[in-house]
Symmetry: C2
Subunit: 236 residues, 2 copies
């Protein structure tokens, strides 16, 4: 089956967590909006009266007759199919729990530059962004990354579940990659406190399919339209 | 099996979405932190080195040997066990997708009064809260509730999936209940635009087990420590 991924063409955004899973799985997929006219196709499908399960927002994945939205939900689906999650219920719920915690962190990362409203320009909420980013750097990042480091410590690593890679490892890789782009100064000082997270990131980056993906033009570069944005004044 | 729910004792918060599912299911559960000394027990369990799957934050549910965290993940688990979700994969993913969209809305509701940081007092981010709440009332609430109304329209109602109640209906009930408490003026004007959501709310409220729960002292009243807070200046 060829999957169809629907997401904005210009950014990594939330689509990237899905792309990393599809790439690691070696799945056959097409990134619809990155073809010419793809955004129109995505918007048409979202507004479609024919769709039984209309998504609230991208990303969404067409898998045969199903259209699945919500990043963590898509990964729940893919994880079961491509050996990126344990089969038994307890393990399956645990990796999903980790993914939902990552999703919470992603909202907080986004809101460092958009604390008031996604619909306003960054420039119109810059002052508020500075306040929010300060708390983010001092308290939220240590809390989240410290938690994931502790999960890896308990599993004995190198991954969140131990020796076995699962889909939240791919998302954790993306968090480190993105935070290094957006908050290089913060990460330079902070990374030594979460050595297991840093090691897990390095191991994911070296996996053959992920390395090939990162070197390809399928990987959209970070930019100031996505979730991870580098604004000097928000780093410290 | 007797479930144990771990959550803060003073607020409905995210624990409430789990309580509503447990109550509708007629499940045997104990709300641990509402017993004397329960918060200490919760904190001890969270910090426990014995726990294989340590939660990042409450709520979490102990179900036999499993400890499951993240509200939507707990509901995914309970939905399958208590007939609050369809069994086939497509339906199971669809209700989870709806729940995750509700979860996104819950974050936005919380952030109307805490746009800068959860760790600061409301009073220290009141000005920012007013700006965020304005966008929330004018754009975000119509977008989310309009979406759920459209889902009910498509399913032909009265619930999100049609004639059959599923766990996101219980959460949607809580959203309407909470928004009426926190933003009474907004809701007074807006509700006529989402008649199907209002009708679904009324039907959930009348279900015998939910009605009994709402009338009991197990239901914590809304207050200004939870997610839904009534601050006149944020309503309009």
């Amino acid at each position: 089956m060829r999957y169809e991924l629907y997401y904005w063409p210009e950014i990594q955004g939330r689509g990237e967590y899905v792309r990393l899973a599809l790439e690691e799985a070696g799945a056959d997929y097409v990134d619809v909006a990155r073809r010419g006219g793809g955004t129109d196709e995505m918007m048409a499908l979202m507004d479609s009266t024919r769709l039984d399960h209309r998504p609230f927002a991208p990303p969404f994945l067409r898998a045969g007759k199903m259209v699945i939205a919500q990043t963590a939900n898509i990964l729940l689906y893919l994880g079961g199919r491509h050996d990126l999650a344990p089969k038994p219920e307890a393990g399956r719920l645990w990796v999903h729990q980790l993914q939902l915690t990552i999703a919470d962190f992603v909202v907080e990362i986004h809101d460092t530059h958009h604390p008031i409203a996604s619909g306003y320009y960054y420039e119109d909420q810059k002052k508020e962004a500075k306040r929010r980013a300060e708390d983010f750097r001092q308290r939220r990042t240590p809390k989240y990354l410290g938690y994931f480091d502790d999960v890896i410590r308990k599993s004995r690593g190198p991954f969140l579940l131990g020796r076995r890679l699962s889909y939240p490892d791919l998302s954790l890789f993306q968090l480190v990659e993105g935070l290094r782009y957006a908050f290089p100064q913060m990460m330079r000082r902070f990374e030594k406190k979460v050595p297991r997270v840093v090691e897990a990131h390095a191991r994911v980056a070296k996996r053959p399919r992920i390395a090939a993906y990162l070197a390809s033009d399928r990987r959209i570069p970070f930019n100031e339209m996505g979730i991870f944005r580098h604004y000097k004044e928000l780093d410290a």
